[in-house]
C-alpha cells in the first residue's frame, strides 16, 4: 500500500478546519446559495450597525414632517407620526433577525425532543407523539398563532412561543423520518453492542447524521418565521406598538397608502428580500448537498 503511506498525519484541529473549509466550499460552489447568503448578510449587517446607519432613533417623531416621501433628511421618508422610515426598517431588522432564529431554535429543540424518541423507539411512543403533533398540525398555522397570542398576549416572548409551537411538529416529523432510516444502519447496532444508552444513541449517533437535511430545513423555517412575525405584526398580534417591526409598519402605514406609500413599501421590500434571501440560501445548499450524494 505504498500509495497510502504518503498520507500526512493530521491533528484534530486541522481536521476541524478542513471540515469547515469543505462546508464553506459547498456554499460557494452554488451561485444560488451565494446570492441568498449575500442578501441575508446585508440584512445582518444593517441590523448590527443600525445606530450608525441612521442619525435618528426609530421612536423620534418629526412633527413638522409627517407622512412625507424621501428627502435628504429622511431618505425613505417619514410615517404618519413623523418617524424616520429608514430608521424603523433598520431597527426592525434587529427585531426580526433576533426573533426568527430564536423561535426556530426553540422549535428545533421541541421537535428534536419529540421526533428522536418517536423514530427511535417506534411503537406506542411513536403513536402518542405523532397523534399529538397531528392535532397541532390540524390547525391552520396562522389560526394557531392567533389563538396562542390572543390567549397569552402579544409580547416578543409570546411570539417566540407561538412560532415555536407552530413549527415544532414539522421539525419533529422530519427528524423522526430521518431517525427511522438511520436507526436501521449497522453503526447503530454497533453502538447498542457497545452498551450505549438510548439517549446517547439518539443524540450522539443519530442526530449528527441528520444535520444535512436539518440545516436546510431550519434555514427555510427561519424564512417562514420572519414571514409569520411580519404577518402577526400586521394583524396587530406582534410586538406592542412603538417597537420597530416590519409587519407593524405595514399595518400602521396601509391606511395612508394613497398619500404616502413609502412606509408600507419599505417594510414589504424588507420582508420579501430577507425571506427570499433565506430561501435561496437554503435551496442552493440543498442542491449542493444532494449533488454530493
Amino acid at each position: 500500500m505504498a500509495v497510502e503511506s504518503t498520507f500526512i498525519r493530521i491533528t484534530p484541529a486541522q481536521l476541524r478546519w478542513r471540515r469547515f473549509k469543505e462546508g464553506v466550499g459547498l456554499i460557494f460552489s452554488s451561485p444560488t446559495a451565494v446570492l441568498g447568503l449575500a442578501i441575508v448578510l446585508i440584512w445582518v449587517f444593517i441590523a448590527i450597525f443600525a445606530p450608525y446607519l441612521t442619525q435618528y432613533t426609530p421612536y423620534e417623531q418629526d412633527y413638522k414632517n409627517v407622512n412625507k416621501g424621501p428627502s435628504p433628511q429622511h431618505i425613505l421618508g417619514t410615517d404618519h407620526l413623523g418617524r424616520d422610515v429608514w430608521a424603523r426598517v433598520a431597527f426592525g431588522a434587529r427585531t426580526i433577525l433576533l426573533l426568527a432564529p430564536i423561535s426556530v431554535g426553540v422549535a428545533f429543540l421541541l421537535g428534536m425532543i419529540l421526533g428522536l424518541p418517536a423514530g427511535y423507539f417506534g411503537g406506542w411512543v411513536d403513536e402518542v407523539v405523532m397523534r399529538i403533533l397531528d392535532s397541532i398540525m390540524a390547525f391552520p398555522t396562522i389560526l394557531l398563532y392567533m389563538i396562542i397570542i390572543s390567549a397569552v398576549g402579544a409580547s416578543p416572548v409570546n411570539v417566540v412561543i407561538a412560532i415555536a409551537i407552530g413549527g415544532a411538529p414539522g421539525i419533529a416529523r422530519l427528524i423522526r423520518a430521518l431517525t427511522l432510516d438511520i436507526r436501521t444502519r449497522e453503526y447503530i447496532a454497533a453502538a447498542r453492542l457497545r452498551g450505549d444508552r438510548p439517549v446517547h444513541i439518539m443524540f450522539r449517533e443519530i442526530l449528527p447524521n441528520c444535520r444535512g437535511p436539518l440545516i436546510v430545513d431550519l434555514l427555510l423555517r427561519i424564512g417562514y418565521a420572519a414571514f409569520y412575525i411580519g404577518t402577526l405584526g400586521f394583524l396587530g398580534l406582534g410586538l406592542p406598538p412603538p417597537t420597530p417591526d416590519w409587519g407593524g409598519m405595514v399595518q400602521e402605514g396601509h391606511k395612508f397608502m394613497t398619500t404616502n406609500v413609502w412606509p408600507v413599501l419599505s417594510a414589504t421590500v424588507a420582508i420579501v428580500t430577507l425571506v427570499v434571501g433565506l430561501n435561496l440560501f437554503a435551496d442552493g445548499l440543498r442542491e449542493e448537498t444532494m449533488r454530493y450524494q
Binding site: 500500500m1 505504498a2 500509495v3 503511506s5 481536521l15 444502519r185 453503526y187 453492542l193 457497545r194 452498551g195
Partner: protein, 691 residues
Amino acid sequence: MKEEPILSVQNLAIAYKTRKGFIQAVRDVSFEIMPGENLGLVGESGCGKSTVAYSLVGFLGRNGRITNGRIIFKGQDMQSLDEKSLRELRGAHIAMVYQEPMSSLNPTMRIGRQLAEALAAHADLPADEIRRRCIKALEDVYMPEPESILVRYPHQLSGGQQQRVCIAMAMLNQPELLIMDEPTTALDVTVEAAVLDLVAELQEKFRTATLYISHNLGVIARVADKVGVMYAGELVELAPTAQIYSHPLHPYTVGLMRCLPDVDAPRGTRELHPIPGRVPSPAEVPAGCIFAPRCEYAAPECSEGRPSFEEITPGHFSRCWRAREWLETPLWTKKPAQSSTYVCAKPAAEEPILKVEDVRTYYPVPFTSVRSLIGLEKRRYVRAVDGVSLSVDCGYTLGIVGESGCGKSSLARTIVGLEAPTGGKMEFLGIDISDEPVERRRREVIRHLQMVFQNPDGTLNPSYTVGDQIAMSLKRFRVVPADEVYGRVVQLLEAVKLNETYYYRLPRQLSGGEKQRVGIARAIASNPKMVICDEPVSALDVSVQAAVLTLLQEIQQEYQTAMILISHDLSSVRFFSDYVAVMYLGKIVEYGQVEEIFSPPSHPYTAALLAAVPRPDPTLKQEFIRLSGEIPSPVNPPAGCRFHTRCPYKIGEICEREEPPARRMSMDHIIYCHLPADTLHAIHPVIRRSA
C-alpha cells in the same frame, strides 16, 4: 472464408464529465465477438466492465461520451447512427439483461404486457401471434405454467423467476447480440446455478453471440468461450477460456485466481494471496503499466512506459511487459487437490462458551386486512429462526451457511441481543442471556460478545473519525486507562493492517475494505471472547475479500477468539471454520466438523449447495444436483421436513409428515434427514475432469 465478427470494438475510450473535468473511465479496449460466441468480461468493481457494455448500445448518460475508437456491429459503425436507428437496434438486434431483475421489470405492468411490448416495438404482429411467441419464450426459459405467468405482476415472482423473465424478454426478438451484466450476482447460489445452466443451453440452441459480464471467475469459467480481463479501464488479457485458466499471461489475472478461496480445497490446505492496494480511480491512473503498483512481478521498467495489448500466442493477448517470460515460466499452476491434514482437536471437556438451545425468532407479519387488525384472524409470523440448537467452544469458529432468507442473520442478531428471541434458551459464559435484549445485558456479556457487520458503508458512523469510533469502545469498557486510549487505538489499527494516519480520517475517505477493517478493529477493541461475523466479506471485491478473511484468521489465532462466521459463500466457510452448520428455512439441516460437512455423507441440501458453486476451472464438468421449485415462505413453512418440497431424494410421505430425526454420523456430525444412512453416504456432488 473467415467469418465476420458480429461485434468489433476497436481502441474504445470513454470519458465521463465530472466536476473535476473529464475522467477517462475506459481506455484502449479492443475485442471481437464472433457469431455464437460468448465473451466473458471479468474484473473488480470500478474497472469499466459495465461502462463498456453500456457504450455498445449508446447508453452512456448525459455526462459520458466516447472519446476514441470505434464500435462496429454487423459492419455498421455505431457512432454514425442517429437516435432512431439506435433505437431500432436496441431490443431487436442487441438485447440486454441487467443485474437487478426486480428493478429492470416495471412493477405496475403484468408480465404478459411487458413481454408483448418488447415484441411489438420491433415487429408488426397480430395479437395472438404475439401471445404465442411470449408463451414460447417463457417455455424456453423453463417457466412452469407460462400462461399463468403472463397475467402476474413482477412482485409475485421470485428473484430467479424474474431473471428468467428478463432473459425471455431479451431473447424474444432473437437478437444477434446479447449483453448480460452480472445477471446472477443478485441471486442465491442454487438459483444462480439454474440460471447459468439456462444461459449455456440457450447459447447452444440459438447461437446468440453474448457479452457476459461478471466479477466471478467461477461463473465466467462456466459460460464463456473467451475471457477478457479488465483492470482500471483497460483490457489487460484476452484469451480462450481454457487457456486463460491454465496459462494466464498477466499477473492481474493470476492475482484474481489466487485470492479466491477454493471450495474444493480442504481447510488448511490453501492460503489466500490478496492483491495489495486497490484499483486506482480513473483520475489517478499511474504512468507506465497501470497494474505495476500492485504487481508483485513488477520490474523497474514496468512503471516507465505503458505496455501495449499484444498477441503473445495466437488468440492470446496480454498487456504486460514481461508476458513472453510467462510463456516459459508459468505464473500459475493449479495445485492438485490435497487431502486434508486438518484435524479439529476437540477441547478437553471444557464448557462451550456459547450454548443455544431450541432458539426461535419470529417476526409478526404486518396486518394485511381489517379482519386481522381487529383480531379476527390469527396473527401470522415469519419464522426466521425456528428451533436452532448449537454450541461454540472457546477459540473455535463455527460457520453458518445457507441461502438468503434461511434465518442465519436473524440467528446472529438474536444471539448478540439485537433481536429478542421468541423462545428457547441461550447461555454465554455460563450466564443465561435468553430474555435479555442487549440493553439489559451485563457489561461483561456485552463486552465479550461483539459483532462484525456486512455492509461496509453502514458499519461506521459517517460523523466521527475512525479513531474516535474505536476509542469509544475502549472507553466504554474501560479496556485501558484513559491516557492510553490513543496508543491502544493505534495498536488496533495496526492489527488490522492500517496505520496511525487513519486515526483522524472520516469513513467516507476509506475504501470498502478499509471500512471493514475498521469494523473489525472496533469489534476486537474490547478483547471479546467471541465475535460474530455476519457476511463480513460478501460486499467486498474478491481481491479485498481474501485480505479481510486472512486478517480475521490471523486475529483469531492471535487472540484465541471464538467466532461465528455467517456466510452464503461455501468456499470462505470451508477456508475459515472448524465447525459448520447448514441452515434451511430457519432450521439446521446438517452440523459437523468442517471436513465432514464437505464430504459424504451429506444432507441432500448441503450436497446441492456444494454442487451449485461455480468453480473457476473450465476443465471441471460438474454434475448438478438440481433443486426444483422455489424456497417456500417462512411464514408458512412446509410440514415435516422443510426441504421436502425441493428435495431430489424425497422418499415419500414420511418426509411430508414427520420432522426428520437427528442422525448422528460420527461424534460431532449430525444430519437431519429421513434417508437411511447408506443413501446419505452415496450423496455427493459429482465433479469430474473432462479429458
